[in-house]
Symmetry: C2
Subunit: 134 residues, 2 copies
DNA sequence: GTAACTCGGACTCTATTGGTCGTATATCAA
DNA sequence: TTGATATACGACCAATAGAGTCCGAGTTAC
């Protein structure tokens, strides 16, 4: 409950690793997988998502790999999470999927307080940048 | 991901309802279940947890039900959640289950940043009291 | 051409969650 | 005393989401 997915954790570890490399040399998925003991296939897909979102670039083929494209000080953690999960972490279903997603919606008395908590959490992820976790 | 359980939502709705009653009359689980369209059995168990934690008192038998025992301004939302789930919402497994719970622990580079986010979230739940959601 | 990469979907397995059921127990009022 | 109305509690089932695997591609350097 209220737990980050492993995908996100792996993604954060990975992008942090990529960001920490000085110079423009590429890092392969296997390399990261080995260094941290993260399942290769899982990590690979996470990296693909990050690349698709434009946070890192991918280079296929021999001597390929990944590299950071953005300024670590500019990219916020919430953007990384969104790139990986396709959505922002939401505390209650109705906050992301709309009124029809919960059949208690119209009598629900806790929506607005929860919205405040939600805003709080979002801010926490938005104000923290990649540079801060390197 | 990072979602509150239905149990917690139902519990918050229920305790808010109980708290909103003026006078000391009891509220039955069925009553709340009907008013909000919450599954009876599920709600019942949540109320039992709240009662076991001392946040509300239970009275069995005919004309029984539940009543609030604490000052709404004193009880924080985090206490309610803890009563229901038996634990505090934690963003990463290692933060609750210790180093051995994650086999990436010793090479994990994101523990300390996540701890900050965690503190943030905890504060959000701790600073919000029952009185604020009534 | 081939080795070393990324790409992307389909797939399985497992844990968590949401919800149900059955039964026991307490209380009150007729 | 009996029966209706409550909570108490554990076992159970069903649905969903999560973690992890597999495989058959495309790409590029050498
Ligand atoms: S409506 Fe209330 S109960 Fe339903 S998801 Fe939104 S917050 Fe939770
Ligand atoms: S060690 Fe790192 S990866 Fe493992 S649970 Fe804690 S934060 Fe997540």
């Amino acid at each position: 409950m209220v737990r980050l997915s492993k995908r996100v954790e792996y993604g954060l570890i990975a992008i942090r690793d990529i960001a920490s490399r000085t110079g423009g040399d590429l890092v392969t998925a296997k390399e990261i997988s080995d260094r941290y003991g993260i399942p290769y296939d899982l990590l690979a897909k996470v990296l693909q998502r990050l690349s698709k979102a434009g946070l890192i670039t991918s280079h296929q083929g021999v001597r390929g790999g990944y590299a950071l494209t953005v300024d670590p000080r500019q990219v916020q953690v919430s953007a990384i999470i969104h790139a990986i999960e396709g959505t922002t972490p939401v505390i209650a279903q109705c906050l992301s999927d709309g009124p029809t997603s919960c059949d208690v919606f119209n009598v629900c008395t806790i929506k607005s307080p929860l919205t405040k908590v939600q805003a709080n959490i979002e801010r926490a992820f938005r104000t923290m940048t990649l540079a801060e976790i390197v």
